[in-house]
């Protein structure tokens, strides 16, 4: 984990997670009419635990000059959503739930972005000293 990554904290990983989750939710919305399609979503608790773990597990390096690679981007597997009502064609996408989850996710994405912007502003302030 490089110095810069540390400065940004978990927000950077949160942003990556939100971005990945948004595409899973978009796939659900896209397949709202597909027979036998099962809606999927990430378990935030699991993803957070993995992100926190990934925070100190990085690929081993044998030389100081090597670039350290953290395993950011591993958020676990998306789990199947348990539907609240049954559809005759076996589809478990509930449009309202997916749309609500998508807009919630977008909001949280913006939140993470805001935090990152805050960190960047502080860093800039520290660098310029004005």
């Amino acid at each position: 984990m490089s110095l810069l990554d540390n400065a940004f904290g978990i927000s950077a990983q949160a942003l990556a997670f939100r971005s990945q989750r948004s595409s899973v939710l978009a796939a659900n919305i896209a397949n709202a009419e597909t027979p036998q399609y099962f809606a999927r979503d990430y378990d935030f608790k699991d993803a957070l635990a993995r992100a926190a773990e990934g925070y100190d597990t990085t690929l081993a390096t044998s030389d100081d000059g090597h670039i350290r690679v953290g395993d950011a981007g591993d958020f676990g597997d998306a789990q199947y959503r348990i539907p609240t009502k049954a559809a005759s064609n076996g589809n478990t996408v509930e449009e309202e739930i997916e749309q609500a989850a998508f807009s919630e996710n977008a909001l949280r994405y913006q939140t993470s972005l805001q935090f990152l912007n805050g960190s960047i502003r502080s860093l800039k302030l520290a660098i310029k000293g004005e």
Partner: protein
Amino acid sequence: MGISSIYQITGTALNSHSKHLDMIAQNMANAQVVAGSEATAYRAMRPVFAPLLEQGFDGDRVNGVEVQGIAASTADVEKQRMPEHPLADADGYVYLANVNMVEEMTSMIQASRNYQANIEVMNTSKDLMLRTLSMGS
């Protein structure tokens, strides 16, 4: 995989739902078509949606939706006695299209709602991407 792949996902979804709308328009346009035999009667078209899968290094992931094929409606074909009709068979019957207008209208509303939902997803993602691009400025 991320915000940028949403364009691929919603793009295929918009394409599929507009194909669905095309089929509905085709069905409604042909609702009054009659034929000379049961086999040649017009049957309502239904899209068969299937998820588009993309092979990733960690297993298959859904990368959109496609119209895999067109299924003909299995609803009964009604026949009507119209001996004066040029297409009537030996017994004087013509066969009507098995299009149910009410069904087509509800499908149309559903398809257009789905289309809108995907547009919404695309717009939101575009907003997020633009904000991400201007990060730190």
